[in-house]
């Protein structure tokens, strides 16, 4: 009896896991890749995407150096990559490569995360994608092109400029220009020298509100 209960529980648990990998109703699997253009205009910077997961099974997260015209394929699950810029003089390529070569997945993620967080990386947009399309969609590949618009001390603006939809023969069957993602000009919250402004400005505003209320009360 106990064995039967255990079997039912195991079937239930593994059934749920298997179900997670099934195609959603009315959808088909597609491939997604992205590239970042205009990096050549910023020769002092190195561009990095993290976390990049190319595995369709167990999540295997890496960091990727973005070169001109290099395409990064994503499995669109387990991690949404952020595009970062870092001054080449402050980027240790060898250390980054050695972290990417760590065999243990958990340790690699931990070390790469720490590398990014402690370095002077300027974050920009997240590459949000989907590996599914409607079953009757004619395309099987989606290629998104991002463009580096500007880099300031602690801000980088990267915009999605074009999305190409390709069929299984790699023919472009549709192309969409986009104006850009919302709020892609994020200021790094880890940037130390500017963070005091996020405290001082609200504090001054609060003092302003209290002062106005007090002045009004005194006048009455």
């Amino acid at each position: 009896m106990n064995n039967l209960i255990i079997t039912i529980v195991l079937l239930f648990v593994f059934g749920s896991v298997l179900k997670a990998d099934l195609l959603p109703e009315g959808k088909k699997k597609i491939s997604y890749s992205f590239e970042v253009t205009n990096t050549d205009s910023y020769p002092d910077y190195t561009f990095v995407a993290y976390p990049v997961n190319t595995s369709n099974g167990k999540p295997m997260l890496y960091g990727a150096i973005l070169n001109a015209e290099s395409k990064i394929e994503l499995s669109c699950k387990f991690g949404v990559p952020v595009i970062y810029a870092v001054k080449t003089s402050e980027f240790n390529t060898q250390a980054f490569d050695s972290l990417n070569n760590i065999g243990n997945d958990d340790l690699r993620v931990k070390e790469l995360k720490s590398f990014i967080e402690t370095g002077k990386f300027i974050p920009s947009l997240k590459v949000v994608c989907s590996s599914y399309a409607d079953r009757d969609a004619k395309y099987s590949f989606v290629e998104e092109q991002f463009r580096v618009e500007s880099i300031e001390t602690d801000t980088m603006v990267v915009r999605s400029v074009r999305t190409l939809y390709k069929d299984s023969q790699n023919n472009i069957i549709d192309a969409k220009d986009s104006k850009g993602n919302i709020r892609d000009d994020i200021v790094s919250p880890t940037e130390k020298y500017s963070s005091y402004l996020f405290i001082i400005i609200p504090l001054l505003a609060l003092i302003g509100i209290v002062s106005i209320v007090l002045i009004r009360k005194m006048k009455k």
Binding site: G79, V80, E152, T155, D185, L204, A205, G208
Partner: protein, 110 residues
């Protein structure tokens, strides 16, 4: 930081416009109130959004963190609007909602 301050000043200007459309009086005072109210909420919202955006994964194209931040900002602005402009809570909520709806909508365009 230049991008951030451009966004902050634009928000102050647009929200001032919304306040003025509703109240049609004392433009200088309304501008001051807009500066103070946005000075209070905008940096905190920006910080909150950045934190949410970078520390949590977005698994679909709908930016839930943007919506969460906008709702928090709208709620946070109701009382300062009521207090500074000296209007009813209902009207303050309507003005705060409209102002944030306009600025949120503009952020999709620019």
């Amino acid at each position: 930081m230049q991008t951030y301050f451009t966004a902050l000043f634009l928000t102050m200007a647009v929200e001032f416009g919304v306040y003025y459309l509703f109240l049609r009086c004392k433009p200088l005072k309304l501008l001051l109130y807009s500066v103070i109210i946005n000075g209070l909420t905008h940096p905190l919202a920006f910080y909150l959004y950045s934190e949410l955006y970078f520390k949590h994964d977005l698994n679909n194209n709908f930016n839930i963190y943007f919506l969460i931040t906008e709702i928090i900002v709208f709620l946070a602005e109701i009382y300062p609007v009521k207090l500074l402009i000296n209007i009813s809570l209902k009207k303050a909520a309507l003005i705060a909602f409209s102002a944030n709806l306009v600025t949120a909508g503009l952020s999709f365009l620019f």
